[in-house]
Amino acid sequence: MDFNDTPEEAAYRTRARDWLESNVAEHKAQGHADDMAAARAWQARKAAAGYAQITWPKEWGGGGGTPIQSVIFGQEEAKHPVQYGYFTIGLGMCVPTVMAFADQATKERFVGPALRGEEIWSQLFSEPAGGSDVAAIRTRAVRDGDDWVVNGQKVWTSGAHYSDYGILLVRTNPDVPKHKGLTMFWLDLRSPGVEIRPIHQMSGGSNFNEVYFTDVRIPDAQRLGEVDAGWKVALVTLMNERLAVGGGGGAGPKEILKLAREIDAAEGTLLQEPAFRQKLADWWVQSEGLRNTRMRTITALSRGQTPGPESSIGKIIAANQLQDIGNSAVEAEDQFGIIADPALAPLKGLFQSAVMNAPGLRIAGGTDEILKNIIAERVLGLPGEIRTDKDAAFKDLKA
């Protein structure tokens, strides 16, 4: 066990740090119209230097680097106030799926622009009838000559309102069991018949959308994988999803420690209260445990092992801790805690925002309950849930 950089890693870190320092400065000096414009410009700058997707091969515009180099760059990049969240789903999940299943021409057309932040991708899987039960989706595609005609509705589609393209999972055969009649396509989200309606969340923002399909025509050439074999394609996307989703959103032990130094308590500050100290220690233990668990995953990756469903741990811990820390901080602020205005609330309302966003994090990318099933079944080898729909044709299932 060695938690220090090797000489090669240290050299890479120095290069990354130097590059970031000069490039963040130039990037800031440019002045950008808005958040999105700034994010696109930063992404393009990273792509030109091979830092956009460090582990991707160079021939596809990646850095041809190792998972550990990617972690090192991420650690250094996190020290700078730059924005890149718009591209996470596309580069983390959608484009890798396209790269795995599309023909050469399609890959050449899309990989570069996505990498440079010119085009943004969405993942169109979830539906009102199929959240955790992804394969229960009802959006239908019917073959018509060289095209498929799509009708139905997707929901919880992150970023669809600013996305250009998407990968779309649809039902192509209702006469077979639900996992066996699905097909995957890529599509232009500006195609006729596509309607995107942002969902207003309880946290106040609108990161997700409903996407409606009315007689949308998709050429068969845009199919990813075989007809009715879309489940296999979706699994590739979902495997990548649990690595990409995570993140506690900045309200961690360090932030609440900062708050606790400033808040008055019965005797001294909140930080001097024994009950608070006990909780703070537990949060630290969890976030350190999570950080080091990620490092163990990277070690496994760097040895050529595939990351398993163990990575489900990360989201369970991070999302629950965000909720707990957010709530503890808000309670510590006492009556003042109800104020969510960033101009008034401590740490610009970070904890109020955590309390309101945490419920979504506990659901997105697999609920706590589904992730625990995954650990129980795929890591511990316990029996699967009883599935009465497993062998029945999809059309015979109760809605």
Binding site: M1, L257, L382
Partner: protein
């Protein structure tokens, strides 16, 4: 960066597991549990000494194997898994570490070879009553080279022939046997005693004040204990899983019920968090890193929580059978209590952890 055991360390761990499967089956643990007159398993102690494990982290010049602390951690993980009923922790994690950290050349030369060979059993005597050890809770005092006081409880104090004792002004070495009275404790597979010093000979160990010296020894022991706890927690999860897959209720294995699946998933998550923190602690210990006090506290809190949770939910998963004397889940439940308290309670370590965070931020 590398966050796993090396191949050599994995091999050592596999060999240790094979050895303990053969020499420390559950009947050996029960042999000590069920017999009030036995305080450890002598045959296992000799076997472990012959394997060289007692001196795994002791330098070769003092008769040890001269491996690193990560290797010792790997052995600790296996000893914890086997619930080994021997005074390994007292002797190796506390006394040998205290000698290596604080001892004079003469003290090391005299004692470490005897520890490595298994000739000496050690004990670390700090507590004198309920509550954390503080500067006001210590009454044991030294005049000249004579020590007087009562320590309770002292794990292995009744079988030790070398004790490291916390007195008001520092740590002292006392040669055993000393006057002792065996106590009834939560974990009879590890004995503990009230030890009385009445003007016994003693020798100063290190120059530092007592609490600071104790703290440094505790930091080292905490990492090693965390690996024992981790091994035990993993074993408790395996037991729960095996029983849940076997036990049928309402027409199917109870492992198929989500209430049980989620319980076992929760144990798994806590164990992995404990493992990751323990690895970081092992690195900090082995590298002599400045992060050791914080890493040790983090590892200890995580491991104590994981073993407690795994051992109690293992009994719960076993249902009524889990509460019987005949069933084995109690062995881990008892040991989890012993290991969580022997170097100070988790609440004490949470406090130490936050103190480290405060100091770090101030620096």
């Amino acid at each position: 960066m590398n966050f796993d055991y090396s191949d050599d360390q994995k091999m050592l761990k596999d060999e240790a597991r094979k050895f303990l499967d053969a020499k420390c089956p559950v009947t050996v643990v029960r042999g000590v549990l069920d017999d009030d007159t036995r305080h450890y398993d002598e045959a296992l102690w000799r076997g472990v000494a012959e394997q060289g494990w007692l001196g795994a982290a002791i330098p070769e010049q003092y008769g040890g194997l001269g491996l690193g602390h990560v290797e010792l951690c790997a052995l600790a993980e296996e000893l914890g898994r086997a619930v080994a009923p021997i005074p390994f922790a007292s002797t190796v994690y506390f006394v040998a570490e205290a000698l290596m950290l604080l001892g004079s050349e003469a003290q090391k030369a005299k004692w470490l070879p005897k520890i490595a060979s298994g000739e000496v059993i050690g004990a670390f005597a700090t507590s004198e009553g309920p509550g954390p050890v503080t500067s006001t809770s210590i009454r044991t005092s030294v005049v000249g080279n004579r020590i007087t006081g009562t320590k309770i409880p002292v794990t292995d104090g009744n079988i030790a022939n070398l004790l490291v004792v916390l007195a008001k002004d520092g740590l002292y070495l006392v040669e055993g046997p000393v006057e002792s009275e065996v106590l009834t404790t939560l974990d009879p597979t590890r004995s503990a005693a009230r030890v009385t010093f009445a003007d016994n000979d003693c020798e100063r160990l290190g120059d530092e004040d007592g609490l600071s010296a104790m703290s440094q020894v505790f930091d080292r022991a905490a990492v090693l204990l965390a690996f024992e706890q981790l091994g035990g927690a993993d074993r408790a999860l395996e037991m729960a899983k095996a029983y849940a897959l076997d036990r049928q209720a309402f027409g199917r294995p109870i492992a198929g019920y989500q209430a049980i699946k989620h319980k076992l998933a929760d144990i798994y998550v806590k164990n992995e968090i404990a493992r990751s923190n323990a690895y970081y602690g092992a690195w900090a210990l082995n590298a002599g890193a400045a992060e050791l006090p914080l890493a040790a506290a983090t590892a200890r809190v995580a491991a104590s929580e994981a073993y407690w949770f795994a051992s109690k939910e293992n009994i719960q998963t076993h249902g009524g059978i889990g509460f019987t004397w005949e069933a084995d889940p109690q062995l881990h439940y008892r040991r989890s209590r012993q290991l969580s308290l022997v170097a100070g309670a988790p609440s004490t370590w949470r406090e130490r952890l936050v103190t480290q965070l405060e100091q770090r931020n101030a620096a």
